[in-house]
């Protein structure tokens, strides 16, 4: 039997299929988010099924998560990305105590207790300054590809100080820095530090590790180092960090099915539908 997790994020949609025997990922896929969220997600889901040589009937349960989860009426249930991200990361790093998830348009800090149960969380406020969108704006300004952005931070000698707390004003600040001939490396490093500072403010007081970094922004080189510097602790990047929430959703789908079948009580029941 197979289970699916679909993460309908603000910038991308991710699908993960797992096998119930060993929770092994059998196939996964990713596409850009768009206006027709439900259709795009279903097309991706079908494409991943084809890749795995499976039929819809082979999938026992589908859990949808992410910003657009409620649009996916073909999923069996919905669970928030906070819970799914925690499940996905905890499967990889069983003793994880804090997950930092920086996605396209929001960022989250998720705390887990010693038993691996989500204890608390914080999300960024209305501004996109602590999110991947900030990096996208910078990449546009610097006429660079997003994936190349992190590489140049290695050349940063004096990271710029981005003081604005709002992404709109920060963009203006970056224009000013470019005009004053600050190097792109220093600007990008400054932006990464700025995002890391926003995360630190969400973390608040005491930090208990292991700290694991997930979400699409974890793929950008230099970002985890910026976080380590601000948090003053090691930050481990999740394996396949963009897919961990979808993976967690698939794990929850499998757990819910297990609970139904075997009366196990180890998994949270979906509350979305």
């Amino acid at each position: 039997m197979f289970y699916a997790g679909v993460d309908a994020g603000s910038r991308t949609i991710k699908v993960v299929l797992i096998h119930d025997a060993d929770r092994r990922v059998v196939a996964s896929g990713l596409c850009a988010q768009g206006v027709r969220q439900a259709v795009l997600a279903e097309e991706l889901f079908q494409s991943v099924l084809r890749e795995a040589r499976l039929q819809r009937n082979d999938i026992a349960r589908v859990v949808a998560t992410g910003y657009g989860r409620n649009a996916l009426d073909w999923a069996d249930t919905t669970v928030t990305e906070i819970t799914c991200q925690a499940y996905g990361v905890r499967h990889q790093v069983p003793h994880v105590r804090m997950v930092i998830d920086i996605g396209g348009e929001d960022s989250k800090v998720i705390r887990l207790d010693q038993q691996g149960i989500v204890h608390d969380f914080a999300m960024n406020d209305r501004c996109a300054a602590g999110t991947g969108r900030f990096l996208e704006i910078v990449a546009d300004r610097l006429e660079m590809k997003l994936q190349d952005l992190g590489q140049i931070t290695r050349m940063a000698e004096h990271p710029a100080v981005i003081s604005s707390m709002c992404v709109v004003f920060a963009e203006t600040e970056i224009v000013g820095l470019l005009a004053s001939e600050a190097s792109p490396a220093n600007i990008v490093a400054g932006v990464q530090n700025s995002i890391a500072k926003r995360i630190l403010s969400m973390v608040g007081g005491k930090i208990e590790g292991p700290v694991v970094f997930a979400g699409g922004v974890a793929l950008i080189p230099g970002m985890s180092l910026a976080l380590e510097k601000e948090l003053k602790c090691p930050v481990e990047i999740a394996r396949d960090p963009q897919m961990t929430a979808a993976f967690g959703a698939a794990l929850i789908a499998a757990g819910q099915k297990s609970k139904v079948n075997a009366g196990l009580d180890h998994c949270l029941l979906g509350v979305g539908k």
Partner: protein
């Protein structure tokens, strides 16, 4: 076990018609809720309501306040706008039979109720009071447009230990030709080593000289009120006014206790918020508000006795701190699997009994100083924690009011205090007057809170 479902406006109308056909007796302000949409309250089309005739009475009572004020004026009564003060001065104003208090600050719900189709927030922007201020800025625009309440005969506003941004808004109201009698409510300070504290309703403590100061302010207000509108409020009148206000407060206290301690939620969070708000100024009719609230209490008691309610016994018991400017967010609580189990909407002192064993102006002074906003955030947090323990709340929502100066720092203090005592999740949200663009994000936060609380049940 019967599960109730919240109903849409259309379903409300149908149920109302059916209720009438069964012989239901509507109050004079009754009627189908959809008529308020025709009056401009388009925002109610997006709300979900408690499925009962008494809840419809509650909504009708709320949405007909302007009519009541105009009727009161026609009957020769004077209208006193009591601004910022959350529940003390209306007790004194209503003590005189020729006076009616109303609460212009209540205009903060107009952008939500009217779906911002009268553009009050835009008007406020143009008057220099933009989105960096509390949503109560809608009140400023309402004074200018004159569409939402009749011009008051007198305005009274507290300053001092209240929101800084509100004072600025009220000053702008005055600057536009609406004279205000300002009175000071000082910040409730700690006692000096040579002082004896006096316990206030709700458990906080104040220095005697602060109480004396506020008592003198009450005396001054009475004097100016007599000069301005020709109505002399005597101590005997205030004693009677306190007695009547205490009836309303007792009813609300019983309503809250019954709801918070019920196994299954007998009333949705939205209707309880509306009911609690009526403690502040009685929705411009002190006698009728008791009828409305008593009806609600009776309904809730019947539902509890019959084991009828919303969601199931496994719904997460949520404590909600601060009121929201967009009422749809209250609906979201039940939609996400939570039920209301404890509230602190910034005016808990208006739900406490006013002392009757002391002179009436001193009683009101103690009441005013018991205002959660007049004291340290730690005092507020302490009372919240006592209620969390009392009601067994499993999760806490701290709803920030954008621009409100008291919300900026208090949330952190309250959150950390709760976390230091209870092993329950706490989430902070920010709710603007029209929260359309934040609905998905707010839903995620509330859903995650419910998921976490359910996950923690398993551990406990």
């Amino acid at each position: 076990m019967d599960r109730l479902q919240q109903i849409t406006l259309e379903e409300c109308d149908a149920a109302y018609g059916q209720w009438l056909s069964y012989g239901g007796q509507a109050p004079r302000y009754g009627g189908r809720l959809s008529r308020h949409v025709k009056d401009g309250n388009k925002g109610i089309e997006r709300l979900k309501f408690d499925n009962s005739a008494v809840a419809m009475n509650l909504w009708n009572f709320l949405l007909t306040e302007e009519e009541r004020l105009r009727e009161a004026r026609s009957a020769g009564k004077k209208l006193i706008g009591t601004m910022k003060d959350l529940g003390t001065l209306p007790v004194m104003v209503y003590a005189h039979p020729g006076l009616v208090a109303f609460y212009p600050d209540g205009a903060w719900w107009i952008p939500c109720l009217m779906d911002e189709n009268d553009r009050l927030l835009e008007v406020a922007d143009q008057l220099g009071v933009d989105g960096t201020f509390c949503p109560v800025r809608a009140m400023l625009a309402a004074f200018v447009t004159g569409d939402h309440f009749p011009a008051p005969d007198m305005l009274i506003c507290s300053v001092g230990a209240t929101c800084d941004d509100f004072s600025a808004i009220a000053q702008r109201v005055e600057g536009l030709g609406n004279p205000i009698l300002w009175w000071e409510l000082p910040h409730r300070r700690a006692l000096g080593h040579d002082e004896t504290g006096i316990e206030l309703p709700g458990g906080a403590c104040a220095a005697k000289d602060q109480i004396d100061f506020v008592k003198d302010e009450m005396t001054r207000i009475i004097r100016v009120m007599a000069d301005t509108v020709g109505a002399s409020v005597t101590d005997d009148m205030i004693v009677h006014g306190i007695s009547e206000a205490n009836k309303v407060r007792a009813c609300l206290a019983e309503l809250r206790l019954t709801i918070f301690t019920a196994d299954i939620a007998p009333l949705p969070a939205l209707e309880l918020l509306v009911a609690e708000m009526m403690a502040i100024h009685f929705c411009s009719d002190r006698d009728e508000v008791l009828v409305v609230l008593s009806g609600l209490l009776e309904l809730v008691q019947q539902r509890v006795a019959a084991g009828v309610g919303y969601l199931g016994p496994d719904s997460v018991r949520v404590f909600w701190i601060n009121p929201v400017a967009d009422l749809r967010v209250m609906n979201m609580l039940e939609e996400c699997g939570g039920r209301i189990c404890g509230t602190e909407y910034l005016f808990t002192h208006a739900l406490d009994q006013i002392p009757t064993h002391i002179p009436p102006r001193e009683a009101l002074a103690r009441m005013a100083l018991a205002d959660p906003m007049a004291g340290a955030a730690q005092d507020r947090a302490r009372r919240i924690c006592a209620d969390i323990k009392r009601f067994g709340s499993e999760a806490v929502i701290i709803s920030r009011i954008p621009g409100a100066s008291h919300c900026a720092l208090e949330g952190v203090v309250i959150k950390e205090t709760i976390r230091s005592i209870f092993d329950i999740p706490v989430v902070e949200i920010e709710v603007p007057p029209v929260s359309d663009t934040f609905q998905a994000s707010l839903r995620t936060r509330l859903s995650a809170l419910i998921e976490i609380a359910k996950g923690q049940r398993k551990r406990k």
